[in-house]
Amino acid sequence: MSRFAKVKTAEKFELSTYKYGFSMPENYVFKAKKGLNEQVVAMISKMKNEPEWMTIFRLKAYQIFLGKPMPEWGADLSDIDFNDIFYYLKPNIKTEKSWDDVPSEIKDTYDKLGIPEAEKDYLGGVKAQYESEVVYGSLQKKYSDMGIIFCSMDEAVVKYPELVTEYFGKLIPSGDNKFAALNSAVWSGGSFVYVPKGIKVDLPLQAYFRINSANMGQFERTLIIVDEDSYVHYVEGCTAPIYSTDSLHAAVVEVFVKKGARCRYTTIQNWSTNVYNLVTKRAKVEENGTMEWVDGNLGSKITMKYPAVVLAGRKAHGEILSVAVAGEGQHLDAGAKCIHLAPDTTSRIISKSISLKGGRSSYRGLVSMAPGAKGARSKVVCDALILDDKSRSDTYPTNKILENEVTLEHEATVSKVGEEQLFYLMSRGFEEHEAEAMVVNGFIEPIVKELPMEYSVELNRLIQLQMEGSVG
């Protein structure tokens, strides 16, 4: 059953026997309910009509999930109750929510950002469908004419099994970490992108056009393959706050960049502040390839996300540009990982973080250079701005160098908006909060200028909104 079909609250199922020895009783009526067990995992697979290998993959991953402990580092995940979550078949959104149920601060932000009514309904989670089909339809034709595959991960598993089996789970195996295991068991949605050799995709692929249900990517699984000498820019997320009733988001993104190819993956997330956003993202780059992760983290209660680049081929290049704004009640633990396995590989990490109103922003990074990675070079710059005395910033970088013919440079600074800077700007007629916003926008400018224009404008305004009321 494709994820575009209408959702039913109850469904009858036939008897099935699974390799793991349990079986479903006849005429079992499946009700939408919370919690996770093997039957739920098996059900997810069955409802998607998945080939057996995927069902087995999921079930194995579930066992791994059960066996893995929670991480002892990073943010505080002790409040996550795995049994208090719908893993599939959520109740129909229409019967549950109306525009009135959307929190007022979310509604206010939509107004201030000038977002039109139709989008407001969609983003507020009120409407289950979005009329993206028309836009999506015409884009689809353009892509398929170029030989590009861009569809949901669910479709790809059924339609392109050879491609999927070659790459799925190969870069981020189920055993990688507890949340990768969870995602591997219950994933749903996400994108599959394949760009054939020598194709440069000029328009960014927008995940937005592909989503058309209120299931806002709780356990998305994305797989991108950029074949030799090709280029693609994939964009997902939204600066406007997304109100999500799901409190746990555990996504997995795997990207394969072949020889001479280039991929840029831009994410902006602004989940509502009840969300735990735990993401495993990794790219493998072959000879002369380039991978760029551009990451904007604004929302969520807790985010743990460390985009990684494995530089496997000679002269492979990786870049991670990230900006994080941690406000009241937020802990954003984000960073980057660059693993140099081959000679002459280069990497660059620029992280800009802001903490305000008691928020906590942490950079957690790793640069490692394996023996044999001669001539490898890496530069890391992490700057943090703490806007008031209630907020906190941490930097936890690890630099592990096992090859001596390399260069690594790492710098980090933590500061506040200077009094002199504020005075200077105010002396030109700008009020204190305007002046502070100008300094903050200037601070994140190196990252923001890499974002598609609509995002950068919205991002600047959003940050300004967050800061209003923080001065005084």
Partner: protein
Amino acid sequence: MIKISNIKVSVENKEILRGVSLDINPGEVVVVMGKNGSGKSTMANTLMAHPKYVLEEGTIELDGEDITELSPDERANKGLFLANQYPMAVPGLTANSFLWQIYKKRNGSRISIIEFRKWIEEQAKLLDLDVELLKRGLNDGLSGGEKKKLEIMQMLVFGPKYIILDEIDSGLDVDALKKISTTIATVAKSKKIGVLVITHYNRILKYLVPDKVVVMEDGKIVKEGGAELANVIEEKGYKK
């Protein structure tokens, strides 16, 4: 008129200005000279309400209105412009963007950004300031002279009623000094702007002819005179 009445100012609990009074009339050029530490810069920054400088006593009036309690932006909105001695860098905020924002704040959007940019380019040429530098972060990586020129560009965009020049001449070569001074003099004269010039040397006064010269020492004004006083100081130094 700017009317400074018997102001006493301290910095970090140390008294710097011990009772200074001074008037600056529209169209007038008033020059303040004095040794390092005499309180000249303190006066400039106090006029603009720099948070580090605490006004213990006295008042400041601008065009009849008491501005003693007003914040820097409120004073700017009344037409007061300070050309800083050490302009701050704001990385990531391009000079171009900042100039446009100042223009919009002071004038609304009377002209399009394209016309504005053209005008900026002309002014930059007159000041001999490389337009490419305006694409950089504000004062980020600029030389002392380039920063001073950028202060003057901001002044031109701002359109002040009163200008305070805090040692605008320090660190400028002969050509730059001439360009900046003549620009200020021309604008001040045509728009009847009151100018307060804080300086050590009288080089700048060749172009900005003073109507009044005062000398400060130990936080007080100790001498007052006309333009000739500046020449006397130049020849004989600050000794009485």
